[in-house]
């Protein structure tokens, strides 16, 4: 096989593996962003965190937010809820960032899947 073609195919294989691993990191992030409060599971996204924070800043004592299934849930302990969401969010994104940076530096398949 032509050397250039061989290298191109090798690179294509590397790119595909890299892409799959990036998608798997996103899937893991999705897992990690789930937070459980009083038997309700929430997806800790920026919108939710900001809403709870804004409600707290406006001295609201409770808010209604939707869980992962779209069920409305009344939250009374806003401070505790915000702290939990922030802890989950930061832990999830710190791990995602760390793993993503490692992937960016991986220049061959062995390193990508290590």
């Amino acid at each position: 096989m032509d050397e250039k073609l061989e290298k191109a195919l090798e690179f294509s294989n590397y790119q595909k593996t890299l892409q799959i691993q990036k998608e798997n990191l996103k899937l893991r992030l999705e897992h990690m962003l789930l937070a459980k409060i009083d038997n309700n599971v929430f997806n800790c996204n920026i919108e939710l965190i900001n809403f709870v924070h804004t409600s707290l800043c406006c001295d609201q004592t409770s808010v209604i937010i939707l869980d992962v299934h779209g069920n409305p849930v009344k939250i009374n302990q806003l401070r505790d809820c915000l702290d939990s969401f922030l802890a989950v969010y930061n832990s999830a994104y710190n791990e995602y960032f760390e793993k993503y940076e490692a992937l960016k530096k991986a220049r061959n398949i062995k390193k990508v899947i290590s």
Partner: protein, 293 residues
């Protein structure tokens, strides 16, 4: 028997080709290693084989409870693959699943296929949820691709297919109705096959539960939620496992349209449904070593 609060129910019946008991041990060990709530009940026909492969102490460490039942009487032959190049047929004794509601000693149960490896703590989130019944309808391959249309709907333009791989239920009116319906559908499988136009002759719990959910949901597919992670990561029968460690699995995943092309895929802290049974069983000793000995 005293009702236990929450736990996992695994159903396993061996045949000459596939050792489902060994797979149940691996599945149970993965649950014990990754989940906080990990009470496990095994439903099987006998403990004889278990006692030949493990010591009594080891069995007690893996299973908290074993229920002995008569094996299913069914002629259900399934074609399996082990890589794109090897295929074999094996009996598929799977029709006890509709009895899970009656068999479960728990108030809240997660019913799991024994070819499922729990590698994260996500299932801990499910206990105590508002829903009486949870089941997923989405699955993706190791390469994050959607499955063939026949694994998404029961037929072209048919109802969505739910995966009976992973089911959560509470002892409740809703769950009871669904399981009773699955028994009825099982007994009238041929009728429902023609009505819902699903392919093949293999008895599949995925079809049975999809139809039951369709009926219970008022024929509009409403009211049944998915697990918090709605997608089941699934290893195809033609993929292979290279190695397993505590929290990750390295796979060799083939391209369906170009089966001679393989990609290495590592899943870390992600639960996975292992469809290639022989590949799973090749890792039995390693899983026992990792999680038990």
């Amino acid at each position: 028997m005293k009702k236990l609060k929450k736990g996992f129910l695994l159903i396993a019946f061996n045949n000459n080709e596939i050792d489902y008991i060994k797979m149940a041990c691996c599945c149970a060990l993965s649950i014990k290693s990754h989940l906080k709530y990990n009470h496990i009940t095994l439903v099987t026909e006998s403990t004889n084989w278990l006692k030949t492969i493990l010591s009594s102490d080891e069995i007690d460490k893996i299973f908290d409870n074993i229920i002995i039942v008569n094996p299913p009487k069914q002629k259900n032959i399934r074609t399996h693959y082990d890589s794109p190049w090897t295929k074999f047929k094996a009996p598929f004794l799977n029709n006890k699943r509709s009895s899970a509601y009656e068999l479960s000693p728990y108030e809240e149960t997660i019913l799991l296929d024994v070819d499922y490896l729990v590698m994260s703590d996500t299932l801990d989130l499910v206990w105590g949820c508002e829903d009486d019944f949870l089941i997923n309808k989405d699955a993706i391959s190791l390469r994050n691709e959607k499955f063939h249309e026949k694994e998404i709907r029961l037929s072209k333009d048919g109802i969505p297919m739910y995966w009976a791989t992973l089911i959560y239920f509470k002892k409740s009116e809703m769950a009871k109705r669904i399981f009773e319906l699955t028994t009825f559908i099982k007994e009238n499988y041929l009728f429902y096959k023609h009505l819902y136009k699903f392919p093949g002759h293999l008895f599949r719990n995925d079809y049975v539960f999809s139809i039951a959910i369709h009926i219970v949901g008022g024929f509009i597919n409403s009211g049944i939620n998915s697990f918090p992670i709605p997608t089941i990561k699934t290893m195809d029968q033609k993929d292979d496992i290279v190695e397993i460690d505590n929290d990750s699995i390295l796979f060799l995943s083939h391209e369906p349209k170009q089966p001679w092309i393989n990609h290495l895929v590592r899943l870390k802290n992600i639960d996975v449904h292992i469809m290639n049974k022989r590949s799973f069983l090749r890792q039995y000793e390693q899983i026992i070593k990792l999680f038990l000995r």
